[in-house]
């Protein structure tokens, strides 16, 4: 569907999870609607979407904590749709961590092994190994209330990993951590996943989290999957306006397709004098409505009109400037009834010497290959 063609590297062999036609209804409310999904062995897969999009419900169905209303879930080739949670080769790290407060750290980690009837000395050895793996070696005797939030999360991780599940599910694992720790933990989770080689499925509402960690991302909205793709493909070639807008920041220009042939599309956008020309493999029908999706960092902002030929150009006036440290975002009015265009520009000089200020007339330009035309 896209021109980038980046296939998930780890997606070799038979998939570990196959979901087909999966639905979950609560009364008349449909939380998950007809989802098809395959997750390969060793993938770091992210379910991304706004709150209430059904991503947690989907994760809980994979864990066996909710039963599907319709459809099937196959895990490692076996139909597990209605197998209860305690019989699935899957373990979960809960959003609240759910560390048992009445047990020591070591007893928490060893809980699943104790249930399985593993001998006592082996439980101890494996639990200590698992704690070592999450860098909590020597914490075994502590009680959960003596741990920080980040440490409790590591206990939950060790407790789930010690059972050597085929899939590890993580429900919003970083949402309760503070910003600095969150960033460090992202890297650590990725490294951990590479070390243990277990398939990770993570639920998150934070697009930067998904982009930085996952090998593939499923973007969800209102119970359906909008697009499944690797991070770069998702960012550069979003399949819909929802995905374009949810992943990062985007400018959407609505127009009518005037011509579409030979990998080139021409759109007439109301409020913009010259038609916009874009390059794309997938061509929409002539006469249909299309949206040009442009990332703010891919647009040039200049005082003079650009000299190169073949550039799309609009002119406007700087109305708002947001200073973000390494970049500034200029909000430019290009037509009275169009939304402001966001253009981000690296602050290579100090702000006191910045090229544009409020009310400056500017020219915005972009090449025909730096955005996509969406039809939905």
């Amino acid at each position: 569907m896209s021109s980038s063609g980046t296939a998930p590297a780890a997606n070799s062999g038979s998939p570990i999870i196959e979901v087909s036609g999966l639905c979950k209804r609560f009364g008349s409310f449909s939380a998950v609607e007809n989802i098809d999904l395959t997750i390969g062995r060793g993938e770091f897969f992210a379910l991304l979407g706004p709150s209430g999009c059904g991503k947690t419900t989907l994760l809980r169905m994979l864990a066996g904590l909710e039963l599907p209303s319709d459809g099937t879930i196959r895990i490692d080739g076996q139909d597990m749709s209605f197998v209860p949670a305690n019989k699935r080769p899957i373990n979960m790290v809960f959003q609240s961590y759910a560390v048992f407060p009445h047990m020591s750290v070591l007893d928490n980690v060893g809980y699943g092994l104790r249930i399985d009837g593993v001998p006592g000395d082996e439980i101890r050895r494996r639990a200590e190994e698992a704690l070592e793996l999450v860098k909590l070696g020597g914490f075994g005797a502590r009680r959960p209330d003596q741990l920080s939030g980040g440490q409790r999360q590591r206990v939950a991780l060790a407790r789930a990993l010690v059972k050597r599940p085929k899939v590890l599910l993580l429900d919003e694992p970083l949402s309760a951590l503070d910003a600095k720790l969150r960033e460090a933990m992202r890297l650590e989770l990725v490294n951990l996943q590479e070390t243990v080689g277990i398939t990770f499925v993570i639920v998150t509402h934070d697009q930067s989290e998904a982009l930085s960690m996952a090998t593939r991302i499923a973007v969800m909205n209102q119970g359906t999957v909008q697009q499944i793709a690797p991070p770069a493909e998702l960012y550069e070639f979003p399949a819909s306006r929802f995905v374009a807008d949810f992943i990062g920041s985007v400018n959407l220009l609505e127009g009518r397709v005037e011509a579409a042939s030979g990998g080139r599309i021409r759109l007439a956008c109301p409020g913009i004098a010259t038609p916009i020309e874009m390059e794309q493999d997938r061509l929409p029908a002539v006469g249909s409505t299309g949206w040009v999706a442009l990332r703010p960092e891919k647009i040039d902002i200049t005082k003079e009109p650009p000299v190169e030929a073949g550039m799309n150009t609009v002119s406007g006036k700087v109305e708002e400037i947001t200073y973000l440290g390494e970049t500034s975002v200029y909000h430019v009015r290009i037509a009275p009834d169009l939304p402001l265009m966001k253009v981000s520009s690296a602050n290579l000089d100090r702000v006191t010497r910045r090229a544009f200020t409020w009310e400056d007339p500017v020219h915005l330009s972009w090449t025909s290959s730096c955005g996509v035309v969406l039809d939905r």
């Binding site: 305690n86 809960f94 609240s96 759910a98 009445h102 789930a160």
Partner: protein
């Protein structure tokens, strides 16, 4: 605004009323009864506090010790049965939908709005030979017999010639039934409070780690609701130990509990010093139970 804890006059003003009330109507009468327990009878109603320990010596007579023992056993069984019956009830309320929860809680405390005496008499109407329990059993007996006759097995009289009503009243079982019935809310409410605070994801985590429902209940739900279990057990055990109306109305001749003996000393026997001594023995027992709980609570990390 000034911190009210530092405003000493305000503190004393607010505290004065309850303090006076407690001293006048609780501490003082209790002290008087305590003194009575060291008194000797002079004539029919007169008493003299002589500091004698004879009342306590008499209370430790095997005859009374046996009644004490029986009271402890009754209270213990009542606590156990209440726990076994109350736990599923509390769980059901916690897991009910938010719409049903207040309704179910109301049903638990509804009996409190009826006088204990009335409720106990109602229980008599249920348990007596010609009571509702036996009526129901008889109805089932008749239906079954009719069914058997229809099947052509009537002549064998498999269920007996006629219905024999069960003797449900005026025995120890009736006392236990009555005590459990009266004290069940005191078990359900603290259990509900403890279970309501329980994080559901802990149960889910146990299931996710491979535990069966039953195993998750035993290893996660029960230990984490221990404060509720202990509170409920104390709230049931102590009043059950001092019950006198229930064994009086529902029990047989051998179902006397210690409170019945105490009541008799103050009323029919008119031996206040001995009654006071028995009362205080019961009280010392209660204090010991509470002290034990305090020790337990400290060991469990201030639960």
């Amino acid at each position: 605004m000034e911190d009210w804890r530092r405003g000493r006059s305000a503190f004393w003003l607010i505290g004065l009323g309850p303090t006076v009330w407690l001293v006048l109507f609780f501490l003082l009468p209790l002290t008087i009864v305590w003194l009575y327990s060291f008194a000797e009878l002079r004539g029919v109603v007169d008493m003299e506090v002589t500091g004698t320990l004879s009342n306590y010596a008499r209370a430790l007579d095997p005859l009374y010790l046996e009644v004490f023992g029986k009271s402890l056993v009754f209270a213990g069984i009542t606590t156990g049965v209440s726990l076994v019956v109350g736990f599923p009830v509390a769980l059901a309320i916690v897991f009910a939908t938010p719409r049903w929860r207040p309704v179910l809680l109301l049903l638990v405390i509804l009996p409190f709005w009826t006088n204990l005496l009335i409720r106990t008499y109602a229980l008599i109407a249920v348990l007596r030979v010609r009571g509702f329990a036996n009526f129901t059993l008889e109805w089932f007996w008749e239906q079954s017999t009719t069914l058997l006759s229809l099947l052509g097995l009537g002549s064998y009289q498999l269920l007996g010639e006629r219905f024999e009503p069960l003797e449900l009243l005026y025995n120890n079982t009736a006392v236990i039934i009555g005590l459990v019935y009266v004290h069940l809310p005191f078990m359900v409410l603290p259990l509900y409070a403890a279970l309501e605070k329980l994080d559901r994801s802990l149960i889910e985590a146990a299931l996710d780690l491979g535990a069966s429902q039953w195993r998750a209940f035993l290893t996660v739900v029960v230990p984490l609701s221990m404060p509720g279990i202990i509170s409920g057990a104390i709230l049931v055990f102590i009043p059950a130990l001092g019950s006198f109306l229930t064994p009086d109305l529902l029990g047989g001749t051998d179902s006397q509990m210690i409170a019945n003996v105490i009541e008799r000393q103050f009323k029919s026997a008119n031996d206040w010093p001995f009654g006071a001594a028995l009362s205080f023995l019961l009280m010392y027992l209660t204090f010991a139970a509470l002290a034990l709980r305090a020790v337990f609570a400290r060991n469990a990390g201030g639960l």
